[in-house]
Subunit: 179 residues, 2 copies
Amino acid sequence: MQHQVQFQRLYYRSRKFAYRVEALKLPNGAEGEYAYIEHPGAGVVVPIAPDGRFVLVRQYRFAVGAYLLEFPAGTLEPGEDPDRTIARELEEETGYHAQQWQYLGAFFLCPGYSTEKIHAYLARNLTVLAVRPEGDEDEDLETVLYDRDQLEALLSGADPNALLDAKSIAAYHLAQRHL
Amino acid sequence: MQHQVQFQRLYYRSRKFAYRVEALKLPNGAEGEYAYIEHPGAGVVVPIAPDGRFVLVRQYRFAVGAYLLEFPAGTLEPGEDPDRTIARELEEETGYHAQQWQYLGAFFLCPGYSTEKIHAYLARNLTVLAVRPEGDEDEDLETVLYDRDQLEALLSGADPNALLDAKSIAAYHLAQRHL
């Protein structure tokens, strides 16, 4: 951290993150009021089913008012290791358990106004759980399987009507050199 | 929009976006309080200099307390077309004017808690402006040129110490089929 916090103007805690407004002095000397989301971080996974298809989830995103097709992901619980978070989220969101995990790297999701750092993984050797664990009660999820050509067409940007998200494109980009 | 807003609990406007907390009823019937950033949208550009190198900006991101290397990007002014936003931001952030623009597609940046949609572009035929326009006074920017091998190494996730951001990885991914 290379800036000074001068005072806090607003603090609001929601379920998964907090919203902060602070007066800051930046390293270049600029002073002002800055607003941002304080987020515990997250995990995202590119899961490959035994038949070679990729596992995605179609879910309603209230912020954008639409159903998006994304890789499974979830927010870290306080003090939780991202390896554990993402294994749990894969099971809750898709009903798959993965036996082989590979860490792909991390990226900031929207560093202009959020502290969120996402850890990305590749998962293989998936098996279907006999009993699917319960996830967040308000999650409205459907598992969708895409083969590699379908996935690459989706994430290429070629379809102007596709509703894409940065995390899923970035995670697939990091996975590419391991496929 | 497929959800109902039941009531608004908090509304806070910062310089570039607003923070909203609302009671919602989702399409699956779940009701609850949801917090999100209401954002006007943004543009990002993958600019290629005449020598074939890619133009990036190194900038301080107070939310993550670090300098990140990203593609030039900026927030839409109210009513502004993203084509205009991104041409302006490229000039302000790097001092380059681009004569050839290609639209790459759009993606949501963090649909879990922000309405932000980013429009991505590829820019070629860059010329250096004689006079660089003034940008936001608090921006602390340095232009950095990377050749394709350096850029691909950076965005591959291979260096665990690299500080990456989702928008830059995603924009490069969308640019790949045009390079």
